[in-house]
């Protein structure tokens, strides 16, 4: 059973079609990375799935709740961090989280323990009694994450959770998200591909209101993996001489040069892994570097989305 199930979701704003028959399935306990260029429909999808917007047509279920029927039940099961979390500036973080705890009907003791636990989790324990109005963007983002976790949600929606943070803050937030794996289902949209690569186990890429691909991270990387080795030798002439012989090998597709670096494209990865290095060493080459190139998520993204670019 899927924690998030979206079928043929359409959303139009006047003449603009934000979602064009979106289908999406997210399994329980997974950290789902939502990627897409600007205007692809990621935030619209999140707003619909959190009950802030209504679809023009199509159906969606979150944690077993049909979005067309019960908004209150949905609210008890989800947590949501908008791209720019907003707070009552006159409140302190303790007061704000306490207010949310009251909305979920948490008892006094449980509420105060939960507030303390969350503030410690997002490293705002020392700022618990300061007014939120004076918080930096990073502090607000961390408070937003704490706010999204007050009710220990079954499904957590995170819209660009780490984009406003400095590298240390980003690492903390990503560690936090990683720690939630298995405890709740996370749907996270971001434009930072490295973050997705690091924490997400399933990746969905959206473009023009549709999900163009959805697959486990490694499977997605393997799909677009080009079997390439890079070789850097001390003696560039020796490497070029070897290339004349190398091109005739049955498992070599092509060899290109860029200065001291040779790029060997192969058509049989398994055979190449066994044969290429011995072959180079037999030719008497002294190697500075020998590397099987792994595709990055950026390669996958650019290949699938093309020139639309990142958000």
């Amino acid at each position: 059973m899927n924690t998030i199930k979206v079928e043929k979701l359409v959303k139009t704003y006047g003449k603009v079609q934000a979602l064009d028959g979106l289908d999406l399935h997210v399994e329980p306990g997974s950290v789902f990375g939502f990627l897409g260029p600007n205007g692809a429909g990621k935030t619209t999808t999140m707003r619909i799935l959190t009950g802030l917007a209504r679809p023009t047509s199509g159906q969606a279920w979150v944690a077993g709740v049909d979005l067309a029927t019960d908004g209150r039940d949905l609210a008890r099961r989800i947590g949501y961090l908008p791209e720019e979390p907003a707070f009552y500036g006159w409140m302190t973080p303790i007061e704000f989280l306490d207010h949310l705890g009251r909305l979920y009907g948490l008892q006094v003791k449980i509420r105060s323990a939960r507030v303390k636990e969350l503030l410690d989790l997002v490293k705002l324990g020392d700022s618990g009694k300061r007014r939120i109005a004076g918080f930096s963007r990073g502090m607000r983002q961390r408070l937003g994450i704490a706010a999204a976790l007050v009710n220990q949600p079954e499904v957590l929606f995170l819209d660009e959770p780490a984009s406003a943070l400095d590298p240390a803050g980003r690492k903390e937030v990503l560690d936090l998200i990683e720690g939630l794996r298995g405890q709740c289902t996370v749907l996270m949209s971001t434009h930072i591909l490295a973050d997705v690569e690091r924490v997400c186990d399933v990746i969905g890429i959206m473009a023009r209101g549709k999900l163009i691909v959805q697959a486990p991270r490694q499977e997605l990387l393997d799909q677009v993996a080009t079997p390439v080795f890079e070789v850097e030798a001390e003696d560039v002439n020796g490497l070029q001489t070897w290339a004349v012989v190398g091109r005739s090998l049955p498992w070599v597709a092509s060899i290109e040069f860029n200065g001291h670096i040779g790029r060997v494209v192969v058509n049989d990865m398994a055979l190449a892994k066994r044969e290429l290095l011995p072959n180079l060493l037999q030719a008497g080459l002294v190697l500075n570097r020998y590397e099987e190139l792994k595709p990055s998520l950026e390669d996958v993204f650019l290949r699938l989305v093309g020139g639309e670019g990142l958000q």
């Binding site: 707003r47 959190t50 009950g51 802030l52 917007a53 209504r54 908004g71 209150r72 609210a75 008890r76 989800i78 949501y80 908008p82 720019e84 979390p85 907003a86 707070f87 009552y88 006159w90 409140m91 007061e95 207010h99 949310l100 009251r102 909305l103 979920y104 009907g105 706010a147 009710n151």
Partner: protein
């Protein structure tokens, strides 16, 4: 039960952002100064240098009725203005800043969200009117004569109904508008419309403005009523709140 949670937050906000204090202090000041103005304006006029001889004899001696007229004049102007100013950002500002989206993804209905705001504003105006009436009563007693408490408080209750019409109307405008200033503009338009309709005597019988006249008459012991205006006012409050709730439920945040 989430109504009380949201109401608690609204009251806390009114306190922390000094809204209760501002409305309370202003209405208290207007309440206090009304009998003072009624009493001393004629004396000040009479003391103007160069006034033609004998003219001061034509300046009438102030009475308790003048104090009430001044009180109602002040309240009808500044009370309504404060009702608009205090309510225009209630919903629009929360939509604009994103706090509405932050709260309404929790177990809070949009109707509760609106009603809690209305209730908190009502408490603010009840407290402020009580302060204003205390100030007005005390100085009226000091400068003129003691007013009977019952009718005087009933007059203030009618004023409160009038203010709440404008609070509810402004909350509706705040729900409809995307920004605080647009909400204020719409509410001011509603105020002008109601004032314009008041120019037609037959219609005026049914409008909230008539409550002030009824209240003044009541406080001065006159036998006048304006029940149609009261029913229309209560109906307007209910319709505005219902409309605000229904519209807000359909809005996307």
């Amino acid at each position: 039960m989430n109504f009380w949670v949201v109401f608690r937050k609204e009251m806390l906000e009114q306190w922390r952002t000094y809204k209760v204090l501002i409305v309370g202090a202003l209405l208290f000041m207007f309440g206090l100064s009304s009998p003072l103005l009624a009493k001393f304006t004629p004396e000040m006029l009479a003391a103007v240098p160069g006034l033609p001889a004998g003219l001061s004899d034509f300046i009438p001696t102030p009475t308790v009725a003048d104090a009430m007229t001044q009180y109602i004049k002040n309240m009808s102007q500044f009370g309504i203005l404060l009702a608009l100013l205090m309510s225009m950002g209630s919903v629009a500002q929360e939509k604009e800043r994103g706090t509405a989206a932050m709260i309404l993804t929790r177990p809070v209905s949009r109707g509760t969200f609106i009603l809690a705001k209305f209730a908190a504003l009502k408490v603010t105006f009840v407290v402020s009117l009580l302060l204003a009436s205390l100030g007005c009563w005390y100085y009226t007693w000091l400068l003129f004569e003691a007013l009977p408490w019952g009718p005087f408080l009933l007059m203030n209750a009618l004023m409160l109904v009038n203010f709440m019409v404008y609070v509810a109307l402004t909350l509706l405008c705040s729900t409809l508008a995307r920004s605080q200033s647009a909400a204020g503009g719409l509410a001011f338009g509603g105020l002008i419309l109601l004032a314009g309709l008041g120019a037609f005597p037959r219609l005026a019988e049914y409008l909230p403005g008539r409550l002030f006249e009824w209240g003044a008459a009541m406080a001065l012991g006159m036998d006048t009523t304006a029940w149609p205006a009261l029913w229309t006012s209560l109906g307007l409050i209910a319709v505005c709140l219902l409309a605000a709730g229904l519209i807000f439920r359909r809005q996307e945040l």
